[in-house]
C-alpha cells in the first residue's frame, strides 16, 4: 500500500514530465531532449527562493518563480535553437536538442558547481497520516492529488478551448492548420511554454521527495519520463499519463524488493523494449501507415 502510493506519486511526477515530451513531440514533431534540464533549471530557481528555510508558503512563491523561469527558458530555447531548424531533418533537430541539454547542464555547473545542494521545501514537516494501517507521507498524497488535478485541467484545456483545439489541429497536419488561419509558430511556442510550466511543477514535486539539487538532476527523470511517454505512445496525452504512472509504480515496487533493486533501471528499460517490440507505437499510440 505504502509502496503503491509512493509509486503513484512518483508516477505522477513522471507523467507531468512525460506530458511535456509528448505534447512537444505531437505538435512540433521533435524530441526535446533538453526537457529534463528545464526541470533542473526549475529546481535551481526553487533553491534560490526557498533555500533551507523549509517554509511552505515560500515554497508556493518558489513554485511561481520556477514556472516563470522555466517558461522563459523553454520559449527561449525554442526560439533560438529549434525554430531556425524548422523543416530540417528530424535527426538534425534531435542532435541540436541533445546539444541544448548539454549546454544547460554545463551552464548550471558553472554557476552552481557540480555538487548537490540540499534544499528544504518544508515537505518533511507535513508529516504523515495512517490510513488502513499504512503509513502514508502527506507530501506524496499532495503530489498525487495535484498531479491528477493538473492533468485533468490540461485534458480539458486541450479538448474544450479554442487554443487547445488549434493545438490538436497543428499536431494533426501542420500545413493544413496554417492554411486554416492558425498561427502555427505561436502554437508551437505555446506548447513549449505549457510543457515547461509542467516541468516547473514536476521540479517542485521532485524536490519534495529527493531534496538535493545538482546540475544532472534532470537527466535521469528526463530519460525515464521520456521512456514513459514512449511506452504510452508518444504524441498521446492519456498515453503519457498511463506510461508515467506505470513506470513510477514499477520503479517503487522494484526498489522495495532487495534482489531487484540494483536492476531497477534495466527492468524499466527492458519493459520499454518489450512494449515497443510488441506494439511499436506504444500502448495508446495511433498507428500511422507509412507511405512512399
Amino acid at each position: 500500500m505504502e509502496t503503491l502510493i509512493n509509486g503513484l506519486s512518483l508516477g505522477g511526477i513522471y507523467a507531468l514530465i512525460a506530458l511535456g515530451y509528448t505534447m512537444v513531440y505531437g505538435i512540433a514533431k521533435m524530441l526535446n531532449f533538453a526537457h529534463g534540464d528545464i526541470i533542473m533549471a526549475g529546481a535551481y530557481a526553487i533553491l534560490l527562493v526557498v533555500g533551507m528555510t523549509g517554509n511552505l508558503l515560500l515554497s508556493v512563491v518558489a513554485l511561481i518563480a520556477a514556472i516563470a523561469f522555466c517558461v522563459l527558458l523553454g520559449v527561449t530555447t525554442e526560439r533560438l535553437a529549434y525554430r531556425p531548424l524548422r523543416g530540417a531533418s528530424p535527426l538534425a533537430v534531435l542532435i541540436t536538442a541533445i546539444g541544448v541539454s548539454y549546454l544547460l547542464q554545463s551552464i548550471a555547473q558553472l554557476f552552481f558547481t557540480s555538487e548537490g545542494q540540499p534544499v528544504s521545501t518544508g515537505a518533511a514537516q507535513l508529516g504523515s497520516v495512517t490510513f488502513l494501517g499504512a503509513n502514508l507521507k502527506l507530501s506524496s498524497l499532495i503530489t498525487l492529488g495535484l498531479c491528477v488535478m493538473i492533468m485533468t485541467a490540461l485534458t480539458l484545456f486541450v479538448d474544450k478551448t479554442r487554443v487547445g483545439r488549434a493545438m490538436l489541429a497543428v499536431s494533426e497536419d501542420r500545413g493544413a492548420a496554417s492554411l486554416m488561419g492558425i498561427n502555427t509558430n505561436l502554437i508551437i511556442t505555446l506548447t513549449f511554454a505549457i510543457g515547461s510550466a509542467l516541468a516547473a511543477f514536476a521540479s517542485l514535486f521532485y524536490l519534495m521527495q529527493f531534496p538535493v539539487v545538482s546540475p544532472t538532476l534532470g537527466s535521469m527523470p528526463g530519460i525515464k519520463a521520456f521512456t514513459a511517454a514512449v511506452i504510452g505512445g508518444i504524441g498521446s496525452i492519456p498515453g503519457a499519463m498511463v506510461g508515467g504512472v506505470l513506470l513510477g509504480v514499477i520503479e517503487c515496487v522494484c526498489q522495495s524488493i532487495p534482489a531487484l533493486s540494483p536492476y531497477t533501471i534495466a527492468i524499466e528499460f527492458g519493459l520499454l523494449i518489450i512494449i515497443l517490440l510488441v506494439r511499436p507505437v506504444g500502448l495508446l499510440g495511433k498507428k500511422r501507415r507509412e507511405k512512399v
Binding site: Y25, L31, A81, P84, L85, R86, G87, A88, S89, P90, L91, A92, L94, I95, T96, I98, G99, V100, S101, Y102, L103, Q105, S106, I107, Q109, L110, T113, S114, P215, S219, I223, F226, T227, V230, I234, P262, Y263, I265, A266, F269, G270, L272, I273, L276, L277, P280, E290, V292
Partner: protein
Amino acid sequence: MKKNIRLKHYINYLILGLALVLFIALDLLGVLKRSDANLLAQVGYSVILAVSLNLVVGFLGELSLGHAGFMCVGAYVGGLVYIMLEPQLNKLGAILVALPIGGIAAALFGLLIGLPALRLKGDYLAIVTLAFGEIVRTVIRNQDIFGGTRGLESVRFGNRLYILAFLLAILTVFISQNLRRSKHGRAIQAIRDNEIAARAMGVNVTYYKLVVFAVAAFFAGVAGVLYAGSTSVIRSDNFSFNYSINILVMVVLGGMGSITGSIISAAALTYITVKLTISLSGDMAAIEPMVYALILILAVMWNNAPFLRPVREKLGAKLEALRQRILHCGEVPEDNSPEIAAWDKVPTKIPMDAILSTDFTVDHSFDADRRGKEEEQ
C-alpha cells in the same frame, strides 16, 4: 581525373598512416612523452568508435544512442580475457586474443539490438538503443565477475598501445570503406534513402540492417578492448549515455557519412577534451561540455538550417571554384556545366512569342447581360 579518384580513396589511410609513422619516429627519438602516448591510444580508439558509429548513423541512416554500450561489452568481456591470459602469454599475445573475442561479444549484442531495429525506426529506435546501453551498463555493474561497482582491475598494456590502436583504426577504415563501395554498400544506402523502395527493388532489408549493426558493434567492442588495455580500472560509469553522445558529436561534426570527417573530428575532439580536462580544474571543467554543446549546435545549424541555405550554396560554389583552380594549376578550366538555355532560344514549334504577347482581354458582355437580368427580376 583518374588520379583524383584514387587520392580520394586513399586519403584516409594516408592520414592515419602518416600520423602513425610520425609518432613512431617521435617515439624512437624519445620525444614522445608517456602522457602523449596514452592520449594517442585514446585518439586511436575514438577514431574506431566514430568511424563505426558513422556506419549506423551516416550510412544506414538510423540514430544509435547506445554505442558506448557495445564498447562496454567489449571492454568487459575482452578485458576479462586479456587479464586472464596476460600472466600466461605476454601482453601482446593476450590482447591479440582478447581483441576478436571482445569484438565478437559486442557484435552478438549488436545483432540483438538489430532485431528491434527491424520493427522500429527514427526516434523510437534511438530511445531503444539508449535503453539498451543503459541496460548493459546496469547489468554488468552488478555482476561480481566483472568487479561490481568498484570496476574491473585491468593491466596497462604500456606506451606502445597507440601503435596497435592506429593499426586497428586503419583496419576499421579499410573495412567500412570497402563495405561502402561494394554492392552491399549500395544496397545499404538504398535502405537509408528509401526503405520501401529498396525493399521493392529486392534488397534484403532485414539482412543488411543486422549486418550494419553487427559490424558497427564489433568495432565498438574492439575499441572497448583497447580501452581496457589503456586503463588500470575498467569502470562501468565511463560508458554512460553521455559517452555515446560524445561519439555522436564526433560523427556529426565530421559530417554524417564522411569517413575522413569522422577521423579528423574524432582525433581533434579527443585531443581538445583531454587537454581541457587536464588544464581546467574543479567546476571550470564544465567549460568542456559547454564547448562540446556549442560546437554541436552550431555545426548542425550550419549544415541544416533552411534559412542558411543561400549562404551555404554560395560558399560551396566558391570552394568548388577554388578547388578547380588548384587542381588545374591556376588555369581556370572551361565551364563545362550545361548551359541553361533561355526559353526563347529553345527550338520549338510552339509559337511562344505569340502566346506570351497575346493580350487577354476579358469579355464582360456576358456579365453585363446577366446583371441586367438579375435587376429585372
